[in-house]
Amino acid sequence: MNETDYSIIIDGLSKKFTRSLKKSLIYGASDVAKSLVKIKATNSSLRDSEFWALQDINIKIKKGETVGIIGSNGSGKSTLLRVISGILPPDKGEIQINGSVGSLIAVGAGFHPHMTGRQNIYLNGSILGMTKKEIDEKFDDICNFADIDGFLDAPVSTYSSGMRVRLGFAIAINKKPEVLLVDEVLSVGDLSFRNKSLRKMSELHQSANTIIFISHNLDQIRNLCSRTIILERGRVVFDGDTHTAIAKYQENSRAKRVSDLKKEANNQDNEEAGKELEIIEYKTNCDKDFKIDVTAPLILECTIKVNSPINELSCSMGVLSEEDYKTCFWVVSNDKNKFSISNLKKGKTYKITVEIKRHNLSPGAYIPNISIRNSETYETYERILAESSFQISDKNLTLLERGILRVHENWSVKEV
């Protein structure tokens, strides 16, 4: 492929930062001093308390591609965007960019609170590199997109935070750069604005603009990007199609989350010790890779130890999203009339099992959630069980459709 077919070519890029503020100031001063006397700064090796924020990154992005970048906090995503946009210089390696660059790293950069929306459009527009004529031409588009009618001549300090973001985004996106860098800005603003922004971005994508998109929202990545890169501690650990990337990312982050949550759970265990009931174990029917096939039934199994006699127990088991630990897909509970758990004796251990024939979960990572309550005293024991997180997998990879639930449907067609 010819070099001109690429929008961005990143070749062996590395960037380092300093952990300690004092050291960073000392190194900064010495680097500046060195550059004055034309000594090359020590770029290729790390000095004390330095670390690689980006290390040996090699990425080629074709014109018109929309590439997502995912990774945990501190993996170097924002630094990478800053280096690509030319804000920070690379310490090693090289970046080549064909075409004008627009970055949405922080929207509304340079907004002045005392100036009106109108003045700020011109100010911000020119910071982004637009000429007055260009801004004049796009002014109406910007106002329509930002949807700030009636506030245009009010100072920006009177705007709500959402309005500021809308205005900032409207200016940046109407610049229509050939290469657009977007960093997590869509997480702000209300739903209708987010949708509008996403629509605008796919419009840009269709007009063959290259987009690099950072988001923690995997759904947005899935919708917008055909290719996704996973960054981990400043390195590219995966670069390929989005579905594989997301599956891999979820798998990778599982281990980390499990260990984090285990710590929390241990603390909870200590608190619970000596109470009337202890949750000892929680299991699913996943295999040793924590996988359950999408077509198989899901079995949830919970072992409890009873420390003092309980007459009636109510038990709920559910499944949460592993992305936020909040989104609950469903919960099943035993009802006294349906299935009663009663007369639990002191000192005994019980295993409660529930089988869900159709779990309706689409491929992805999930985390079980259990809540056990003494129906008489209402004492409740709730737990998100990280170590039992599991993955619904699809061996045949036939289910690449979107959505968080899988439904069982029947199709038919007939001539009418």
Partner: protein, 279 residues
Amino acid sequence: MVRYYSDMRHKTNTLMSLYYFYKNIKNSRELIVQLFTRDFTSSVRKSFLGVGWVLLSPLLGVFSWLIMNEIGALNPGQNDIPYPVFLLMSTLIWNAFVQSFETTSTTLQSGAGFILQVNYPHEIMIVKQYLHFFANYLISFIITTAVLVVFNYDMSWAIILLPILILPLTMLGVGLGVIISLVSVVIPDIKRITSYFIKTLMFITPVIYVPKTNNKFLEMLIELNPLNHIITGIRELCLNGNINLSNQFTISCIFCLLVLVIGLRVFYLGEHKVIEKML
């Protein structure tokens, strides 16, 4: 096509870097105007007296020196110009250096809000800061001239040229200012040191008195001080209409130009290295 690579600015020589500055500044005229308007109006709005400060500060400065003179703390030396006039003129000229230095020494800091969010040529902020200084300076120039006219002091028409005559002083101010702006990102203490330095510098410069000393070392310092020759030259021209282009004056001007070029070069090489410390 744009390329970024490590140490890319090393490979550009001084002349080329100045050319880039020129080109970027030319291309970003609109942005400079926008930023200047933003900063200037907000600096006026932020204070209670607003524009009043611009008028008041030079007068207040002169006032304190006058009091010191009255109580005999100063020995202005032989001078055929009335002392208040001498003071007004001197501080006006001296301020060209001090204020251009002070405004440009916050060049990088003045863009802190978006310097790490958007890529744009940072040299335009030097120009923006300079414009800011110059606008303030013009106002105090007009006030001072008005005061001199009101008090019926017979000065030379050359005073109209003052805003141009101060050019070498501002070159020195900007040259030093941008270096300090850069260094103060990594060594914030430098600001305090320079403010002491400027105070000291004032005493070996004929701002509030005509320096006369028997101390050989001080005499040498005064003789070497480029500000000395420039300020004396400009003041003579404005008040008496004497054009006295001594060799020292010319050499001092060349020195100022040199400092400006060095300052811009330092800025070019260093600014992108220090802005990441502003994160």
